[in-house]
Symmetry: C2
Subunit: 626 residues, 2 copies
């Protein structure tokens, strides 16, 4: 049987497929696939239309109407929807694949059973490591997926020029080039909002290149100031924003002609506070979309993806059809794709989710471009038999993308030593204070006694650990040291990671220099990942060989490794919620208050380097009781 629902890769364009679409709709040629007796969730008209059929050919809808009998031929696969809802495949309007620590293919494999058939991904992390070449790799891997993965060209690498170095930089010329690629849908989130407001010529050039290409400038206005600064940002061109956290944020963005992207990630809970703009204030919902931004593999495996966001939005009081519009057609319209995805209508890519209930939203069958990718309901014989692999195309990440952890030499415990000021018995040091469930850190000052060898050591009793950034892109051998408080590490342990936003050097933190050196060296040998060492030996390890950020193992495997890491961290005394995120953000110098980059300790309020030693000698107040 030669049916096109076994095809993968991009479908024919509507223009190319039109003669066949017309012929199927008119009854002159048979469809590849017909779905019968479903409840058509029509997000265009915001209606549910009972007892309708869909006919699909060449990966696109040819006929959506009351009776597709005329489109059924001897080789047509027929699915009886049995009165289930036929919903457009769900769209994630903004996200970073790297947050799942998975390659594009593995991420897609994980989200398909959750009904996601379109994602708008900003490979910002890989851009920091591999530059435009890394973006191209993501772009190319995205193109061969059986669902729609549209790529946004990252805008801000480095995030903080002058305060950090990256593996590679993204230039306005890179952006202009990327806009010519077939699968680039726009510019990734413009995080440098002070730059936009102050007319930074590089940021404006990137946005202009995007607008001139007729594409969408992604926004990121992470500020509570809705005065002229916000208006200036909106005037600069960003067309959406997912950083809002309050109802007024969502309202303001819609009023300014931007789309408010409401976010529910693994650690972001921004839907509930903002969706009241629609449910309470009654704003037109067309300018609201749903997104995840960042999802861990564990979330994907255990909780879901866009189905989770949808259920949550409905749980917040949003009518199901309105929430579905936010997860389908609104996103399609935003990116200029409403004639391509986001609705069940003739000519569009045939992306359908079958579900028995619109509120609890059990995802039963998932069809993308006319191909059955997931079928929990067991409606389709072929998938039930397991005879076909819906993901036949494999992407091979090249050697240079697997060889990105270059520290130049084997590190020793001495690399993590911090000398006391000459002759001082103690010193007051600046300490990064991580706060549970908050992205900003506190800029603390704490007193440390000098050891007999003249070193300033971690002090687990007062929850003071070492922290270090090891330059890993240029093999410079540079190590920057500091101190951190808040993780609660006990004993002699250290955690090191090549996921270290945004420039993704190695960030290590721990109570023991031997374990720090051990963990960092392990990452260098393995080509990336996260390593927890105790007493100099490995306790847990997550292997992320692609750019030091991603694994090409299946999501459950990566989620399992990550869970073992979390468990082991707890054994070492770190029970903070989402501690690894705090770890990986210690180098994120664009967020207040104190951070550490590969160039030194950074005052991320004043955007300047600062000294680790605040003053010689211990401060007042007798902080050495222990």
């Amino acid at each position: 049987m030669n049916v096109s629902n076994t095809r993968t890769g991009m479908p024919d364009s509507w223009a190319d497929a039109a003669p066949v679409l017309i012929a199927v709709a008119a009854g002159r040629e048979p469809a590849d696939l017909v779905i019968r007796d479903g409840r058509w969730v029509n997000v265009q008209s915001r209606e549910i239309i009972d007892r309708h059929d869909l006919a699909i050919v060449r990966g696109r809808f040819a006929y959506c109407g009351p009776d597709a009998t005329h489109a059924i031929g001897p080789d047509t696969v027929v699915i009886d929807a049995g009165g289930r809802f036929m919903v457009p495949g769900l769209c994630d309007s903004h996200m970073h694949i790297e947050s799942g620590m998975l390659t594009v293919s593995r991420f897609v494999e994980a989200v398909v059973p959750h009904g996601t058939t379109s994602m708008f991904v900003d490979p910002h992390e890989i851009a920091n490591v591999l530059g435009i070449d890394g973006v191209r790799l993501v772009h190319d891997e995205a193109l061969i997926q059986p669902i729609n993965v549209f790529v946004q060209m990252p805008s801000c690498a480095p995030s903080a020029p002058g305060l950090e170095t990256t593996g590679k930089e993204i230039t306005p010329e890179d952006v202009a080039e990327a806009m010519t690629w077939p699968n680039i849908i726009g510019l990734g989130e413009m995080m440098n909002f002070p730059g936009v407001i102050n007319c930074d010529h590089k940021m404006l050039a990137e946005m202009a290149a995007t607008q001139r290409a007729g594409k969408t400038v992604g926004g990121h206005y992470a500020s509570r100031d809705l005065g002229p600064a916000f208006h200036a940002y909106a005037a600069g061109g960003p067309a959406d924003d997912h950083e809002g956290t309050r109802e007024i944020d969502a309202v303001s963005r819609a009023r300014q002609g931007m789309r408010a992207m409401l976010r529910l990630g693994s650690a972001w809970y921004d839907v509930e506070a903002q969706i009241t703009a629609v449910t309470r204030l009654g704003l037109d919902p067309r300018n609201f979309t749903l997104c995840t931004d960042d999802c861990h593999s564990g979330t994907l495996v255990h909780d879901g993806h866009m189905d989770r966001v949808l259920r949550h939005a409905i749980g917040c009081g949003c009518p199901p059809l309105v929430a579905l519009q936010m997860a389908t057609i609104n996103t399609a319209t935003h990116f200029g794709l409403e004639r391509e995805i986001g609705s069940i209508a003739p000519g569009r890519r045939a992306d359908v989710v079958l579900t028995g209930d619109l509120e609890s939203f059990p995802v039963e069958t998932v069809i993308s471009r006319g191909q059955v990718l997931s079928d929990v309901a067991g409606l389709v014989d072929e998938v039930k038999d397991g005879a076909k692999d819906p993901f036949p195309l494999r992407f091979s990440w090249p050697r240079e993308s697997r060889n990105t952890v270059r520290i130049g030499r084997k590190l020793t415990p001495a690399d993590f030593e911090v000398a006391s000021p000459p002759g001082a018995m103690a010193a007051r040091v600046r300490v990064i204070g991580v706060v549970e469930n908050q992205a900003p850190t506190k800029a603390m000052e704490m007193d440390l006694r000098a050891s007999p060898e003249g070193l300033l050591d971690a002090d687990p009793g007062r929850d003071i650990s070492h922290v270090a950034v090891v330059e890993r892109h240029r093999a410079s051998g540079r190590v920057e040291n500091g101190f951190v408080s808040g993780f609660g590490y006990r004993g002699r342990c250290a955690l090191a990671s090549t996921v270290a936003h945004d420039s993704h050097h190695i960030v290590a933190a721990g109570t023991c220099r031997t374990s720090m050196a051990g963990a960092v060296n392990r990452l260098a040998e393995a080509g990336g990942g996260i390593a927890l060492f105790r007493d100099g030996t490995e306790l847990a390890f997550v292997h992320l060989p692609v750019a030091g950020l991603m694994s090409d193992s299946p999501a459950p495997e990566v989620a399992g490794q990550a869970q073992r890491l979390v468990d082991a961290m707890a054994e070492c005394g770190c029970t903070m919620n989402n501690a690894f995120m705090q770890h990986s953000l210690m180098a994120l110098v664009v967020i207040p208050e104190l951070r550490i980059s590969d160039l030194g300790l950074v005052d991320s309020v004043g955007f300047a380097f600062t000294d680790l030693i605040a003053s010689d000698g211990a401060g007042e107040g007798g902080r050495f009781e222990s």
Copy 2:
């Protein structure tokens, strides 16, 4: 004073203007124009926001917020809106300029006081006369207007290949070329719906060229059949339709992912029956737009344009904010222009209408691209003083466009003679039966006695007139003769017109061959228009020198000429409502039942030529009582 609200022509792109927009919003540079204390009609969020200000620079909105004081410099023009509503400039989603018998500039001049600042025009008529060159002239004239006139490339010239000849033809290659022009927004209405349904390769090639250019295929499905034929048409690619007349038509189009364009033209009244899809059934209004399709100059002068449609929609029970969305942002989104027009938001072209009431909608001040074009309210000193011409750019239609009426020779009464079959005393002839207020004609058969000279003559007593099509594009000298009933002409008169849909030869109808020859010759001398002759002399004349379709005189002048023509037609016995439209449609061979083209009498049900003489000798039933 050097303020940019005196500029004309296209504004800087958002990308080019961004640095200044940002600087104005941030308060670093002054705006050109600030509107204070208005009620912001926010069609994005569907809200009215009181006491807000707008700051405009370089023809675009820079700031839309509660207080634009920081954007006011010494040279900023400040308008006190005095609590008036600030509404986005109105958008006409589909229309033909030629229906106003005015050039683009004269049409624009007429509609600006009615609040229209964007029009999507399909120069289908001029394409039939001048081909792609005529479309380019409209395109170029559109580009220099002070409002936004986007051009759709006509798709169907000729409308009925083989049954008529046109001045020029439009080919798929023409369409592909036009898609590269800066001001082409899509393909004009695809009227050949049987061609689409049957996969006519030329029609499909035109739609494919449009889709590949990322532009919008206009639809025209003038049929009540909503079965597979309709679905096949939708599968072919047309993205909108303005031919719906019933609620179910509007519903069906929205469900199929098309936009339902609700039409109120001079003679079209299709809003009331269809807008219930929103007001009664509660469909999401986003896929509904308002349009005029065809407006006579008299309508523009006396009744209005998009303001008239808006008032009508509100009068039909549509909430004003929803009706306004249909006349602004919905249209912008449809054509991929929502970041350019259709809302009051940063970066968009500064098109604003000030009005004191959203229901009666008096248009007080009209601003397009930051330039005050009309100011009935007298809010702006400069316009009040009449010191500036808001329409300074003039378009000169070239000589070849004014020399399109070529009949090859001077016609004589003999050209309109119809010979009786040899030896017959009478004949049964096929007669075009025009019906008041209906586009279709009736295919009648009537008996005519032969004159002593062997000719079949008009018979005013039985309301039978001569009708003729005179080939006027190629100077072939061809004249096709027939008979028509329904106009009620008495005495010895004839009306001739170079407006003769769709191929725009000369259509003449009358009771007297001498007057027919006189009227036709008059049009040939004048280069086009409409002439009414009685007893061989001119009774009324509308001069349409541009392509024989349009005048470059002001709208009131053309409307006055047209009114005098209507009055004169009544003097000649023709009191049918909208009689000139019936006259001009007699050659429209795509509409049932009987028509006449430059190639002969056409059975426009069977799409074939038919004989004028149905049978020799008079039929039964004694129809010669007179």
